[in-house]
């Protein structure tokens, strides 16, 4: 693993047992993220992006695979060791309304991680640190003793960010951090997250379904479909030259807020195929406009083309 990589995920897998069979939520996912960089993971509901994010930091226990963080495989640690590692691996959650304990004031919420791990034993110093964190995320100090229900979504999300930052983590998984917010507030929070990343040298895994946001926020983007990464490339490259038919359809489906440059939309037919017992085939075949025989008999592997661009599709085999 080269020294500029902070996190390397290899073959991460998580299946869920259901009455109808094995649900392939995350299927042999691999990627790496460089220090201080942001990897965006996009996909629609059911693609496994949230499960992947949680599996990496072991909020959900993966079935197999390796997660190399700072020279250690996180999946090999026991419960107590991983609990201690949590100071370096943090998460920002999607729903500002349910990710904060309604019975704790916002200062108690931000302070809690420090208290749990006894990072700052002196009470006064802790309070000062909380106040400074509030400054960093743009929360007025007079809100110190307020409860979440008194605040709006944008401010609550800032609390979540402050909580995640309170232990000076190296890596933060952001699970749809702005999806529940209004557009103008989204922009505020995204700017904040970027500033904080630059200031503290954080590495982000940014999970979202919103393509315009991921383009703006990430250095590289991985597109997931039914538990697998089907394309991965630097952001500009992905948007300029999308290769996988799903990525193409996805990009074309985004409503463009302009009355010029109206692209001809390709409406994707059909619905998602089932993630239960999908078999060794291309999982997108049932909806693909370019499907041919091989797609229904074999599963394409993620392969690197030029420009750091990886794609899993038989249309590009070999070239």
């Amino acid at each position: 693993m080269n020294t500029n990589t902070l996190i390397e995920v290899r073959d991460l897998t998580k299946y869920f047992k259901t009455k109808k069979g094995m649900l392939h939520a995350v299927d042999h996912v691999s990627f790496s993220i460089g220090k201080g960089k942001t990897l965006g993971v996009v996909g629609e509901s059911g693609c496994g992006k949230s499960t992947t994010g949680r599996a990496i930091i072991r909020l959900i226990e993966p079935d197999s695979g390796e997660v190399w963080f700072d020279g250690v495989d996180l999946l090999s640690l026991n419960q107590e060791e991983i609990r201690k590692k949590r100071t370096e691996l943090q998460m920002i959650f999607q729903d500002p309304f349910s990710s904060l304990n309604p019975r704790k004031t916002i200062s108690e919420t931000i302070e809690e991680p420090m208290r749990l791990h006894n990072l700052v034993p002196d009470k006064k110093e802790r309070q000062l640190k909380v106040a400074r964190l509030m400054d960093t995320v743009g929360l007025a100090r007079r809100l110190y003793n307020t409860y979440p229900h008194e605040l709006d979504g944008g401010r609550r999300q800032r609390i979540g960010i402050a909580r995640a930052l309170s232990m000076n983590p190296k890596f933060v998984v952001c699970d749809e951090p702005v999806s529940a917010l209004d557009v103008s507030i989204q922009a505020q929070i995204l700017n904040l997250m970027k500033e904080v990343q630059e200031q503290l040298g954080l590495t982000y895994l940014f999970i979202t379904h919103d393509l315009s946001v991921v383009y703006h926020f990430s250095d590289d983007i991985a597109v997931m479909y039914l538990g697998q990464i089907i394309e991965k490339a630097p952001s500009d490259e992905l948007f300029a030259r999308p290769m996988h038919p799903y990525t193409r359809a996805l990009l074309l489906a985004i409503p463009v807020p302009s009355i010029h440059d109206r692209k001809e939309r390709v409406i994707m037919k059909g619905e998602l195929s089932s993630p239960i017992n999908p078999g060794q085939v291309c999982r997108f075949a049932s909806r693909c406009a370019y499907v041919f025989d091989r797609c229904t008999r074999e599963a394409p592997l993620l392969q690197a083309k030029d420009n750091n661009h990886e794609v899993a599709c038989f249309l590009y085999k070999g070239e």
Partner: protein, 287 residues
């Protein structure tokens, strides 16, 4: 979304809503009077002189200015006995409930949080216990252990344990999968911390409501058991016992039974109205 940050803590909102419920307010006032009389019983009526001491010459007097509620068959002032009796009823009921909430609540929290086999075992046991009517259960325990105030508390407390186990388990289940619990795990909290600091404080609403309702039931059972002679021993002026001893004089001196009976009824009614009011005030959907 207020920029003028008045501290609208959740408790204040609940109190505001509660105040609008006339029934709950009346119930609350009655209960306050009751508690006050229990606390100041000794100041109002000296125990030895008025409650215990027999005064045959004064026996069976109808209510008058000197004895506002009359006297009983031993010449003791009924009002004095009732005021001291409130102490016993409230004490027994409160202790029993505290017992029930602690044991039942812990069992329920463990069952709800860990699920699986632990949950199954605990729930099947509570199922069995719940199938026994509470009063019967209490009677059986007192019969086995003997009649005394301590055993009364144990019996009624034990009879209420399964209910609280159920309630707390249900409440824990609703909160267990909420994002802030996941967030607590993400920051590295241990399971015990999560249950105590994050889950239980947010389960209080249904527990509070049940406490008031179960208190009513505990008072009822205390009275019932004493009525049957299985509770406190004479000359303790517990209301149920008063009811029992007044039975023989019901034809000409009905006040001896009726008044304690009415008070038992009023207490239970007040607790129920308060409990209903609390349930409505704490209902998050009405916000």
């Amino acid at each position: 979304m207020r920029d003028q940050y008045e501290k609208y803590s959740q408790y204040r909102l609940v109190v505001l809503r509660l105040r609008r419920n006339k029934g709950a307010v009346i119930g609350f006032i009655f209960l306050c009077l009751l508690v006050a009389s229990a606390i100041f019983a000794d100041f109002l009526f000296d125990y030895e002189a008025e409650v215990i001491a027999q005064n045959i010459s004064q026996r069976l007097l109808h209510p008058s200015f000197q004895h506002p509620l009359g006297t009983d068959e031993f010449g003791r002032d009924l009002l004095a006995r009732i005021v001291h009796g409130s102490r016993i009823s409230l004490l027994v009921a409160s202790l029993a409930i505290v017992l029930a909430v602690s044991f039942g609540g812990t069992l329920g929290a463990i069952a709800g949080f860990y699920g699986g086999l632990v949950d199954n075992v605990i729930m099947r046991i509570t199922d069995v216990l719940l199938s026994i009517p509470m009063t019967m259960f209490a009677i059986v325990i007192v019969a086995a252990l003997g009649a005394s105030t301590r055993n009364l508390v144990l019996a009624i407390g034990a009879a209420s344990v399964p209910i609280f186990a159920r309630i707390v388990r249900g409440a824990v289940l609703t909160v267990r999968d909420v994002e802030y619990v996941e967030a607590a795990r993400a920051i590295g909290a241990k399971n015990s911390t999560i249950i105590v600091h994050h889950i239980l404080p947010n389960c209080l609403a249904p527990i509070i409501v049940q406490v008031t309702l179960r208190m009513a039931s505990a008072i009822y059972n205390t009275a019932a058991l004493s009525f049957l002679g299985m509770g406190v021993s004479p000359p303790s002026p517990e209301w149920g016992a008063l009811l029992a001893s007044g039975r023989n004089y019901i034809r000409n001196y009905s006040y001896l039974s009726v008044i304690p009976g009415v008070l038992i009824m009023l207490t239970i009614l007040s607790l129920n109205m308060l409990g209903d009011g609390l349930r409505d005030a704490l209902d998050p959907r009405l916000k």
